[in-house]
């Protein structure tokens, strides 16, 4: 339903042009969840913002970038070429693709009640009157498990607790009935108990509403719980992608392997944590060749630092961008 091809995004800044997203391609199947994992600065939020054309004015998509979306009515939409003020874009935002953010407190306006913001979205996209919009909003609040919704609907976000606010945020994003939900680290700011509840809720809602979902996180544990497919991003490039089960069981890329090793386990309690060595470089100092070679334990000198690796299919469902798995090209070089 959504396919992204060769997406590159650059920003013109005072220090020159940076390109935090390079040649990213992925596909979100109908009714499934794609998880995007990466450290901060890996370009995961920027690429999803591009899907709704929410990037600031100094951002540019490269000419090869292609974002294709099939609407609820079966209409093909080329998102990358929509005009900023077009009606299609207005309908797409909220009505076709909904978005929830890491900080529910900051994503609600503090000066309007939760109900006001929900009814605004409902009326915009469903063309209903005030009374009906309120009924839909109430129903949605009940659905996300907010008790006493009839009272809560007129409250402001600062009158709610953290978990409830995140539920309200989900209700808000879903109230206009989107077919695809982009969740940008929705559980990062929550404690683990609430996090589990919210994940459970999102899975339920996805099944009930038949939505597709893009779930951004830096937490592989969350990915394991919620995603059907996963894309691992490093410095603006997808280094490995495939079915979640395959990627997590048998990671091919040294970065994915490092991330998995870094997760503390009950069996390794006596050992120290095993972080991926080094820090993620800034996008303006992107290493030549494979972006990960500066931190890679298996880097091949003279190969990995020269040319970026191409994407190699390692099974029917998964692919990796790594010289270690590209014997042919390595020999040829």
């Amino acid at each position: 339903m959504l396919s992204v091809k060769n997406l590159s995004i650059s920003f013109d800044t005072d220090e020159g042009r940076i390109t935090p997203v390079r040649d990213v391609s992925f596909f979100v199947p109908q009714g499934k969840t794609l998880g995007i994992v990466g450290e901060s600065g890996s370009g995961k939020s920027v690429s999803t913002k591009a899907l709704m054309r929410l990037l600031p004015g100094n951002a540019k998509l490269s000419p090869e970038s292609e974002i294709l979306y099939r609407t609820k009515t079966g209409h093909e939409l080329a998102i990358h070429s929509l005009k900023p003020s077009s009606r299609e874009l207005g309908r797409l935002r909220g009505g076709e693709i909904g978005m929830i953010f890491q900080e529910p407190m900051a994503s609600f306006s503090p000066v309007y009640s939760v109900g006001n913001q929900m009814m605004e979205a409902i009326r915009l996209h469903r063309g209903v009157g005030k009374g009906e919009a309120r009924a839909i909003a109430l129903d949605m609040l009940n659905r996300v498990g907010i008790s006493n919704a009839a009272h809560r609907i007129d409250q402001y976000s600062h009158e709610m607790s953290g978990g409830m606010r995140q539920r309200a945020m989900i209700a808000l994003a879903l109230s206009a009935g989107p077919a695809l939900l982009i969740a940008d680290e929705p559980t990062t700011a929550l404690d683990v108990t609430i996090q589990a509840q919210v994940l459970e809720l999102m899975r339920e809602l996805q099944q009930d509403l038949g939505m597709s979902m893009i779930f951004i996180t830096h937490d592989l544990g969350v990915i394991a719980q919620i995603a059907d497919e996963v894309a691992v991003m490093y410095l603006g490039t997808i280094v490995e992608r495939g079915a979640t089960r395959d990627v997590l069981r048998a990671p091919k890329h040294p970065y994915t392997q490092g991330l998995l090793k870094a997760i503390p386990s009950i069996n390794t309690l006596q050992q120290r944590l095993n972080p991926v060595p080094g820090d993620i470089p800034s996008p303006s100092e992107r290493p030549s060749g494979c972006p990960f070679h500066t931190r890679c334990p298996d880097a091949i000198a003279g190969v990995c630092d020269r040319k970026p690796p191409r994407e190699i299919a390692v099974s029917q469902t998964s692919a990796v961008r790594c010289w270690l798995h590209d014997q042919d090209a390595r020999n040829a070089a």
Partner: protein, 330 residues
Amino acid sequence: MLRFVLERLVGMAITMLLVSMMVFVIMELPPGDYADRYAFRKYSGTGVSVTEADVQAIRVELGLDQPMVVRYFDWIGGIVLHGDFGQAFAFETSVVNVIGDKVWLTLAILFTTLIITYVISIPIGIYAAVKRGSAADYGLTIFSYLGLALPNFLLALILLYFANRWFEADIGGLFSSQYKDAPWSLAKLWDLVAHLWLPAVVLAWSAVAYQIQTMRATMSDELNRLSVTAARARGVPEGKLLWKYPARLAINPVVSTIGFDVNRIFSELPIVAAVLGLTELGELLLRAYLDLDMYVAGAILLLLTFIIVFMNFISDILLAWLDPRIKLGA
């Protein structure tokens, strides 16, 4: 909201009570009183020698022999109970007669100035923030520094000159000569409006420049908020989005300084009024002080502070309406 308004009203009443006491004390501060002045006026150069007893007689006649506390309660009681601001000694009539029309004209200038200030600066500030870094933004910034740098009496002279040249308008004063002493009518009101814009523009000039910068700065901050991106991601059309989400919060510092703007307008008004030949309260206040005509001075001071306190009250109510977190005390 009702509770909040009532609280502020009580606060306003207490402030006004304290202000009235201060005004009264200030009125008493200059050495001598109107009895001295009256005796001097009446008998100087006539060769009559005036004794302390004569002055005391005048004092009794005018009621100035009473102790200060008694006179304060007489004064404030008259104002609150009958709207009687006392006697204007120098004019030999009541204060209400002397200041009556001038109060309304001063208020007309004040509100026209405020309206011009906000109607111009708020949309332009928003526009500059949205178009940040564009040629239009830089142009507006230059304009506002010019606005801040130019003294307004100079601007008054320049505008006066051009208004006269281009429109051949008799633009000084607040009325054309044929309406000056005419009773109020629609035509006279229209004549007032035609004259009012000039002093209002002069007085609004620097405030517009200042508030454009305020609005631009706060709006730029608000535009970066996640709640704005979130609303955009819900498909709220851009025009509505700007007013509903960032502008409502960005307007806060402009609204909260309404009281300061009123204060500034009152302090700049006498100079502008002198240049443009307007009738307003400031000039009268100065004269009343020179004559020690204390009830006139007191009434003007009290009215001006009342307007400032009242506009602060309005600003509080507006702020609470704009941002519901304020009345919750959060």
